[in-house]
Amino acid sequence: MNQNDAVMWTEKYRPKTLDEIVNLKDVVESLKAFLRKPATMPHLLFAGRPGTGKTTIALCIAKQLLGVSWRSFALELNASDERGIKMVRERVKTFSRYSRGSLASIPYALVILDECDQMTSSAQTALRRIMETSSHTCRFILICNYSSKIIEPIQSRCAIFRFSTLKQEDVVKHLKYVAEMEHINLHSNAAKTIVEFSEGDLRRAINILQTSAVYEDGKMINEQTILRVVGQASPKQIQLMLNKALSGKLIDARNMLYELMTTYGFSGVDIIRQMHRELFRLQHLSQKEKAELIGVFGEYDFRLSEGANEDIQLSALLAQLTRFSESRGNSANG
Amino acid sequence: MRTLKKQGFKLPYLGKEIFIKLTRMGLDYEQGIFLIRDLNNIENIRDFLSEILNEKTVFTQICLICRKDFLCTECKHYSECPTKDLPLPCICEKCSQKNNLYEQYLKLDK
């Protein structure tokens, strides 16, 4: 393992040009067409689940369009980091002023705005106006998980690209590639397990891999390793909370939920993903029960994206789980 | 409808648990009669008694001026009253007609 330049592998192995990207052929082709004639490129909206390549492609575009000093002409923002739309506006304003007409080779500056589906509709309305007023100097690449949460006026001004979840084989392929480059002994069962736990999120898969490599320190990474690493990455409280719910104690489960969200700062999506994973590891549920639960999870995962309050949706999910305690009668829960 | 007098009332035997609950809610018991010790939860007492006696239970009122008993149902403001059927001080229909009601009220020894 390379000790000299330890960096996060998610960055080390991030494709730097569009050509390096293995999947998403149609997205890449359309974007290449725009890049041949930059003036024709509209604002872009990238929608898809986490870890599917949205930011990667946005950065590739930036590099290709803006050349060597692309960092000076691309502004990266996250809706959750910025304190409200006013700050976004300020930063874009300053940025577009500073970068205007600096170099002939630069068609326009880029604003990459991530997590815009987490902006309220009034913030998005303000964003649309910002996009309009700076359109001669900037192009926006908006990134989100759910395009349905983006208001129509913004959608109509963008070319929308959907990033589908990676296929399992592709993830495995990539993991094996990284393992080879890093001289790691990766058992194929381990790769499969990583894929299971990452649910199509390549970034997460690579992080699990890197962490496992450190964990084993030269020894082979097998399925056990992955389970241990993922177990450690997930707070014990998740399992405890799940068990409380499954034994019918909703108030306790809900309090643990709040603690997870405040102390650990997990979002609703994080928690539901982690609960899902924990479900896998629960020994005492039958296949039928697991299947039923997965259905419930799916429903609430969707509602999380639609609903207004994460607390409510997650508590409602926990409440559905308490039903399982009833139907199981008095059998001991973990 | 069961009417309980504000000054004190009797109840059928209800068992130890209910008795304790009633005393906790604000009733005292002396020589066979229940007295109201604490008015803070009187609504709960009324509703509770209605439930366990299985009929609507109301309290009588004592007119501040003439000191006579009367029922809320006799009052013309019954439907609008926010504290109906509760044993709180009030003024009966007859005394309400008096013109110098407030002066009389002031003179009362409360």
Binding site: M8, E306, I312, S325 | C81, T83, I91
Partner: protein, 407 residues
Amino acid sequence: MDNLMWVEKYRPKTVAEVIGNEDAKASFTNWLIKKRREKAVLLYGPAGIGKSTLVYAAAHDFKYNVVEMNASDIRTRKAIMKMAAPAVSLSSLDEFSFETKGNLLLLDEVDGIFGQQDRGGVGAIVKIIQNSRIPIILTANNIEIQKLRPLKKICHLIRFRRVRIPLIVAFLRRICQAENIPAEKEALEILAQNSLGDVRSAINDLQTFCESRKILRKDDVQFIPLRNRGFNIYDTLKGMFSANSSVEAMKILNNSLIDYDTLLLSIHDNLPLHYKNPEKLAIAYEALSKADVFRGRIQNEEWRLLKYVFEFLSQSTTIAPGEFQPFNFIFPPTKRYLLMRTSAERTLLKTICTRIGAKCHVSQKTANSEYLPFLKIIFRKKSDQASQLAKWLRLDNSSINYLKKTN
């Protein structure tokens, strides 16, 4: 001609003059002048029925001086301690005329203290009560909120209720006599009924109607717009949970003053307290979840979706009609803020996540959930890998130590 508001002009100055709540009055004066078991008394009940008025009237009768603090203005622990502390210590007696028996501390509207910003507010009051040498009087509109539990334990509780109509009529009549404005009895009755036991608003209404009139007739007040006595949160929650059908619960909703976002969260807080049976709780939460989904869909002013929100809200509280048992409502809604044990830790975490975000092109939030858990494992396990990464991420020593520790 004096321009005084009648509520001021005719404000009772002695205890005898205060109408209504006779038992509460007696209980209060007993507490004040006789040997007190509790150091503080909590007067509670709806607005405008005479709680503060009684306090001042009693102070007048028994020669106390009132030091008042409106608790909703001064919410933090520091502020309360700062203002109240001098008043409750012996030394302050020197500042006042020797004709008074001493000070009374009046904390008005203590139920205005809630929320995260007021952390310590109630605790500070408890401390003050414990250390005080003077009588302390608290008033509140609603004491069913959880925040006030510590106060309820140490105060003598006296409940005030809406004043009954015949008494209000008597009082209004007296004002009319004093103002030389003959008034028809029915007119006064309508005003009294309309006030719903709030003497203050009855007087205000009376003044409004008498403003331009020499005689007050029944017809003048006949079509008085009903004071929008929508339900407050306590009444709304109680009404919705005790309703016998979702239709009834919907009626309560429609008459509620509370905004639906707050209601959504309040019902969410209180559902498990109401439903003890997991099956019913799950069904109720299903309905609430749907209400929330529709709320989330109201993006572009699609208020027509609101009726679905209300529909599902009404369903969520009436899954088990007829089984309502009163309980202590949680209000205001539990707010989750991103709290860590200490703000120092919070700042540290933010720094770390910002650094990760800068290098890995993610937001702090994503850094926290996608990178931090793994970095912690790496840092705990292997120190040279860790120090390389730390360099790359530009982490300082305290950040590194934070990542290394097992939590």
